[in-house]
């Protein structure tokens, strides 16, 4: 049980996939123009991450080492397509906003990376913990960035205008430059926080 918890917490801060390991950046930067998009993307990602980890771990007994990569890809691709189809049917607006980044979940270095580094070598329960941790790590970063960019770029959060009239939003923040600056800032912040806690 303790191991489960440890794996889970590890992925959220110390080994945060986005801010520390620098994985899965593309989707985080492109989609975080609003909190709603970030949440949608984060949840879609979590679905694929968690179930892929579980499946890869389950398939361990029949996965020969030499062809493990294609098998990972098939498993991850399957879940990606499932969430893609489900979203286009039940969450059409979100699906349109996220566009090409839903199928791109299959090449998200985080998922393949974790399959190779963890799920292929660990029990199903631990892989589930790792998947959950990575998902939370991904979610909090993308939603924070989404909040930052939506507020600075459109003056709203989840579509609700904040401080209308007092605060004038800058378009640059929902465009590419803002994404880069936002994440640079978050990493610097994490560095600073990590330093503080080390004392």
């Amino acid at each position: 049980m303790k191991e489960f918890w440890q794996n889970f917490v590890n992925a959220i801060f110390k080994e945060n996939p986005i801010l520390i390991l620098m994985l899965g950046l593309c989707s985080v930067l492109a989609v975080s123009t609003s909190v709603q998009n970030s949440l949608g993307m984060g949840l879609a990602f979590s679905f694929v991450m968690i179930f892929s980890n579980i499946l890869v771990s389950l398939l361990r007994p029949i996965t020969p080492y030499n062809i493990r990569i294609p098998i990972f890809i098939i498993a991850i691709g399957m879940f990606t397509t499932i969430i893609d189809l489900v979203m286009s049917a039940y969450f059409t607006e979100l699906h349109k906003s996220l566009g090409i980044f839903i199928p791109l979940i299959v090449v998200n270095c985080m998922i393949i990376g974790r399959a190779e580094a963890f799920a292929y070598k660990n029990s199903v329960l631990n892989s589930l913990a790792d998947g959950l941790g990575m998902s939370v790590g991904y979610l909090w970063v993308i939603v924070t960035l989404g909040m930052l960019r939506e507020f600075l770029g459109s003056g709203t959060i989840l579509g609700i205008p904040i401080l209308p009239g007092i605060f004038k939003p800058t378009l640059a923040f929902i465009m590419p430059p803002g994404a880069f600056w936002g994440i640079g800032f978050l990493i610097a912040l994490l560095n600073w926080a990590g330093n503080k806690f080390r004392r």
Partner: protein, 195 residues
């Protein structure tokens, strides 16, 4: 003549105006991870160009001659990524046999190319934009050259940054991203120049 102009315009659009890194946010992992040195950037750029163009052509045929006629469009994600993985594996084997020197220089990047989101994205975009075979080739060459340019730009700057006095918590990746943000701002200026 007009179609040549159209193709050139498409090429310019793919390479600069809609630059895959600064405007579309794709291939960022390799962009951030490979640009600490100039030489590795150039090598990666060429490797990606090679794979991207080949993948675009192969997936073009797979889509229009297999998936579409058999009504299997929903298998697009899975088949495209498998095509790319197979191509990368083939390229690695060929390079290992024909040029051990090249293999040693590029060896580590090759498996990484499979997870390069830009390649999968471009194969999708070729279909979504309804490009014919020639346009597909031009578009993928443009995109991959744009990628190479972005890598070269950033690595040149990073090599200089390594010697400058960056504030403590901004050292390493934060300053890389701030710089990229500025580069992205520059590329925003190209908007509307080509169609």
């Amino acid at each position: 003549m007009e179609s040549l102009m159209k193709l050139f315009s498409l090429f310019f659009f793919a390479m600069i105006v809609d630059n895959i890194i600064f405007m579309r946010f794709l291939a960022l992992c390799s962009y951030v991870g490979m640009t600490s040195q100039f030489d590795t950037s150039v090598g990666m750029g060429f490797a990606v160009t090679f794979v991207m163009v080949m993948a675009s052509v192969v997936t073009f045929f797979v889509y229009y001659y297999i998936l579409l006629p058999l009504n299997l469009v929903f298998l697009r994600t899975l088949t495209f990524i498998l095509v790319i993985a197979v191509l990368v594996q083939l390229v690695e084997m060929v390079i290992r046999k024909t040029s051990p020197y090249l293999y040693k220089a590029m060896g580590i990047y090759l498996p990484l190319i499979t997870t390069n989101c830009a390649i999968l994205a471009v194969t999708f975009l070729n279909i979504d934009y309804h490009y014919n075979l020639l346009e597909t080739i031009v578009y993928s060459i443009g995109v991959s050259l744009g990628y190479t340019i972005a890598l070269i730009l950033l690595s040149s700057i990073r090599e200089r940054l390594a010697y400058s006095d960056t504030p403590k918590f901004w050292q390493g990746y934060p300053i890389v991203f701030i710089t990229s943000g500025l580069l992205a701002l520059v590329f925003l200026g190209f908007q509307g120049m080509a169609h």
